[in-house]
């Protein structure tokens, strides 16, 4: 079992650009959550996808959007990048019906210049 995998591992973008990050959940998991972790801070919940729909959303602007595919993989899109969007973006997967623990990927380090 490969666990939760994220791509790419590192990314540098220019302010104003758009970025797409990808996540493949752990085998058997159907729920994907995205978190933003600024340097020296704890992860902050962005949103969660289940059955290809956004089920919950944290306090993030509409510039942050996502998608979940039939195979449960997910994308996080961020438009009009700001310098403050520089962070480690983490994907976590879990199995909804079991209300189980969340397993995190290694993250994507996004740097906006």
């Amino acid at each position: 079992d490969a666990g939760v995998t994220q791509s790419p591992t590192h990314l540098i973008k220019t302010r104003g650009q758009q970025v797409t990050l990808r996540c493949s959940p752990k085998s058997g998991h159907d729920t994907v959550s995205w978190y933003q972790q600024a340097l020296g801070q704890g992860p902050q919940f962005i949103f969660q996808y289940y059955e290809e729909e956004e089920r919950q959303r944290g306090n993030f602007p509409d510039r942050f959007s996502g998608h979940q595919f039939p195979n449960y993989s997910s994308e996080l899109n961020v438009n009009a990048l700001l310098l403050g969007d520089s962070a480690l973006y983490l994907c976590a997967s879990s199995w909804d019906m079991g209300n189980t623990e969340a397993f995190f990927g290694q993250g994507t380090r996004l740097t906006v210049v």
Binding site: G40, Q41, G42, P43, F45, Q48, L90, S94, G107
Partner: protein, 112 residues
């Protein structure tokens, strides 16, 4: 508003010592309290978790103590080792949801 408050921000102990990390919460609806360990450049990894119907849980060298009335919980690491040097996060979850509210983290350094 920080839903889960964590202290201290950093901690240095000698090998074999017992570091203690504390967390406090306000939302009494939280029903699941995990602790995560994170190494630089890696994602958080679940260490141990507790539900509010028990006051203590042990897994190997890691122990969670939970005080429901005080709305506090803590992580104790027995016989700490240099390999335990990492950042530790407490978290909490609302029933029926899988999103976690994290503390701000504690950077632990275990000196050989």
């Amino acid at each position: 508003q920080q839903q889960v408050k964590q202290s201290p921000q950093s901690l240095i102990v000698q090998k074999g010592g017992i570091p203690i990390i504390n967390c406090a919460y306000e939302n009494t609806a939280f029903d699941y309290f995990p602790w995560y360990q994170q190494f630089p450049g890696k994602g958080p990894a679940l260490l141990i978790a507790i539900r509010p119907d028990v006051s203590e849980k042990k897994e190997g060298r890691f122990t969670i103590s939970f005080n429901k009335s005080a709305k506090q919980f803590s992580l104790h690491i027995m016989d700490s080792q240099p390999g335990d040097s990492a950042t530790y996060f407490c978290a909490a979850r609302v029933p029926g949801a899988n999103n976690l509210f994290f503390g701000t983290g504690t950077r632990l350094t275990v000196i050989p």
